[in-house]
Symmetry: none
Subunit: 206 residues, 4 copies
DNA sequence: AATGAATGAGGATTCATTCAT
DNA sequence: GATGAATGAATCCTCATTCAT
């Protein structure tokens, strides 16, 4: 009789596998169009097994999008503490990090997911506002205020609307998601052009 | 008890009503989570009636998102022809228009819809790239090139990445969609701050 | 403004047109798969108009299949009265008539229709039994009894099972309906072979 | 209140049960008028379960009618090989077999089904022509040719139209399906009368 | 009388979830 | 724990029938 492989493994690892599979599926097709079986298949387990780790599809989604975002901001946050670093370097570092950690990762689908499903899952939106946006803006505000005080900003008013700094990053994701197939966007150029617009030339007018 | 009226009306108007209802529903819950019956109910008609105007849900969606966007760009395009107008005024006008025509309208949900369902409806994405993005970028490129030539830009490199100009508009929509409930974003300030960063002061070269 | 043709015409003629259209449709696709709109379109009238002549689909079907059969048997019946005609000629004439009036006509679909929908419309079956089968068998019985008495039959027992005489006709319809496209059946040969089997040679062994 | 049992069973058996239920339903009401739920209920399972075994209604139908016919002809075929058996015995055996295996079985509804739905399912018609008709006629042709050569046939021309031999069988099914309720047809007599007409008396050539 | 837009009941199919093995 | 067959609620879509014009 053919043995059915019932691979038992560390629950924590299994859980992580399911989340990875779920993320791939949700990112690809959205919440509604993803079948629990898709997730199971992708995780190489049986349908029922998913339910041993997550009570239902909704919960799976919520735990997924909530758990995937956290660690991005840590690094930037710590750099900011060092007041001697010029604001431009901090923002530049933020863009680099964003590029490596989000844009060039599967995580780039996250925005799409949150934007798409946000209205159906207010918990998720709220989570992102609280955990990511609030913290990110706070950091940016600090950096920009310091930059304004030091005369590093061409327009000090920017310090009041830190969202402006996030805008190019947003644009890069949206473009990557929708239009990269039709026309390439050089994000390096995008970010640099913005940095050069935002900040006064480093060596000043010397 | 509510009367069941068998209201007959102009097909064109009926079609428009359905599209309006459909847009509201799709914007609210996304493609998959919207039931055809929701659309019908919202349009105050019976389920079957929708099918007299659109062959199926998918087509309803496609015709919807395709038909809703067109007229936005016309106005900006015509202004650009006038070469005596400063670039800053053109871009400023673009933001104003965007605010009035998109941000403060139900159309602000459009991006969400396209972003969310794009991968499932490549036709839609392609349509937007071809009809909106291509044209918009082309106009911006003209304007920015002219501005660069006239010394109106603080950083002429921006002329190569016209997407940068769209970034704040994008941010304004995303913010409005997701976080406006938690924290207000003053888009006026956002746009102005960006304009003041992008362009040299008006009286500048005196 | 474009005039909508509202062709009024003799109700009797209109009714006949609808029945003709209905027969074509039902014969082609069966009762369930035929849409009232198909019938209307085929009759070149609007959906609603059908209902001015028939209360519902079921009734349309019943009146249709009931009205289409009657006149076939009249001719045979009258010939039988003439006792001097040999039985073989009568049966042969029946086959010829059947060929011309049923097999080579749209009426050949009738059997299929009755057989297919019979269980759903006992009225129809009963009608055919009463109006067609009973009368046909009765005639055949008379003819065969006379033939037996005259020694025209190779096997007089056939007179007790007049259905046997109908069997080749049945076969010809079924074959035409199902298999004629794959392989031709020479009905002339079929009928002649049967006649030559059933009846003793005309000129006998002289 | 009835218990909802979640009975698991051998897939092959389950499949057979569904086919049996489907056959009963289709035979009773035809393809279009049969609801998948009818089939499920009759098989004492839930709607969805049917779809675990058949992708859709159409496929269920096709697999059903294709699978139900096969084994009928085997027996006759093998008898024919024995050349010493008189043709009459072979044909007689064919009728007996037909009576026991088709007429007195639920299989008697098969003709109705094929005739009714054939035009909508050409695959089915083609299958029957290829698998049943072709083979059956081929056997009959062999038998009749042999009979003609031996002088067993009253009319050797019959050997060219083997369909004639099938005609009484056809008649017996059609009668059973439509009119048995109104008037009994003694198929024994029908077949015997035909056999006695077709073949010369057994002791004949003495 | 004729039309065809409007209605809504009905039926095929999907898929989240359960549970016997 | 793991499996996947079984379940049935939910949703798309069709089409017989009605009725305002």
């Amino acid at each position: 009789m053919a043995e059915k492989k019932r691979e038992k493994r560390d629950p924590e690892q299994r859980r992580a596998e399911i989340l990875a599979a779920a993320f791939a599926c949700f990112a690809e097709r959205g919440f509604a169009a993803t079948r629990m079986e898709d997730v199971a298949t992708r995780a190489r387990i049986a349908k029922g097994t998913v339910y041993l780790h997550f009570p239902d599809k909704e919960r799976l989604f919520i735990e997924l999008v909530s758990g995937i975002a956290s660690p991005i901001l840590g690094e930037v946050g710590s750099v900011v503490l060092n007041e001697t670093i010029p604001a431009r370097s901090v923002v530049s570092m933020f863009y680099s990090l964003f590029k490596r950690q989000v844009l060039e990762t599967e995580r780039r689908h996250l925005l799409r997911l949150i934007l798409a499903e946000g209205p159906m899952f207010p918990v998720v939106t709220e989570f992102y506002y609280r955990e990511i946006i609030t913290k990110g803006l706070s950091i940016l505000r600090t950096v920009l205020a310091r930059a304004a005080a030091r005369g590093e900003l061409r327009n000090p008013a920017v310090a009041d609307v830190p969202q402006l700094v996030m805008a190019p990053a947003l644009m890069s994701i949206v473009w990557a998601t929708l239009f990269e197939g039709y026309e390439h966007l050089d994000t390096e150029k995008l970010f640099d052009a913005f940095l050069d617009t935002l900040f006064v030339a480093e060596g000043g007018t010397i």
